[in-house]
Subunit: 139 residues, 3 copies
């Protein structure tokens, strides 16, 4: 069986991190599936999905380290910037490295996450965006 | 149901990026499966699979940032290099960080990708290679 | 069909890398499933799952590059550290970037891995830990 649910997530700014865990749990509950896999996927090339302890300090630390990995256009010359001049070359690269989905085991109606392991969407574009997140539950 | 298809991809050089999206769509069409999950997996420890806007500038930017993350053997001393002397320690490390697969939702016969979100193989080894990519479609 | 198996893995120290490949093959064998997908997932926010050539030099190289990407608390000021003072802000960030799972195709009873491509758990926390790894086999 396959259950699919689409979420509409409005982010507020670059590096906004949205905790999706409760919404994923709701979708699992709606699916009626007890055991299998749950995939959480973000459409778009300038946002990411990962797991993290959803703690305000750590959320900011993640942004700071992403800035080290792929600096913004003030500190690194992106060819994407030369072509489109939309200042989000770094956003695309960070998204490619972080990844746009996670797949989590579902055991006895519960996501098999660690205690401090939340599923999050991170806005990597340079402004707020509306994001579509697809949750797929399969057994 | 499980549908599996193997692709043979010849890369041309280090940091060659191959857009797999159409081939994945063909496999989905062949599978006859309408809803589920599609996994795209690269065999090998020196290549990666990710999503990116397939734009020539951005493709080069990705290579440049990977060089910042895990510099090649001229700029960083890899123990793997001391052992094997094949100059691809950086290739292995970049592959481990980028990841070797993506899993994408399939909804009503279509991959749930964003408009600018392509599925790509990136050659991380120091020379052209033949790569086997496995596409798995499940419902 | 869904087959789930939980592994208990005791790591020995920060940056310990445990080769899980044989244990995943055992689980696949126990599942009786011949074709599908195998997901290997680590519970917890300070460890990672990836693929790599399991070679001692390369294992150390991976740790060295992770130290470049997200330096430890001696070399970078984490807000997580200011809050909790447990010196593992870098562990969390490395885990979010590396990812906590891999999904591998299963074809004719065998994992579709490359010759040098092993599935590993990497301990990213600052001390040895007991880790729960969930293997899910689906067809």
């Amino acid at each position: 069986m396959v259950f699919t649910k689409s979420l509409n997530i409005e982010t507020t700014r670059e590096l906004d991190v949205v905790n999706l865990t409760e919404k994923v749990e709701e979708a699992v509950s709606e699916s009626g599936i007890a055991n299998g896999l749950v995939n959480v996927f973000a459409k778009g090339s300038t946002c990411g999905i990962t797991t993290i302890e959803y703690e305000p300090g750590l959320i900011k630390d993640l942004g700071a380290i992403l800035e080290r990995i792929a600096p913004d256009e003030e500190d690194f010359e992106y060819l994407h910037q030369q072509r489109w001049n939309d200042y989000n070359g770094h956003s695309h690269i960070r998204a490619s490295i972080l990844g746009c989905s996670v797949t989590v085991p579902l055991i006895d109606n519960a996501l098999a996450l660690g205690t401090w392991q939340q599923i999050v969407l991170i806005e990597l574009d340079v402004r707020k965006r509306n994001r579509e997140v697809i949750i797929t539950v399969m057994d």
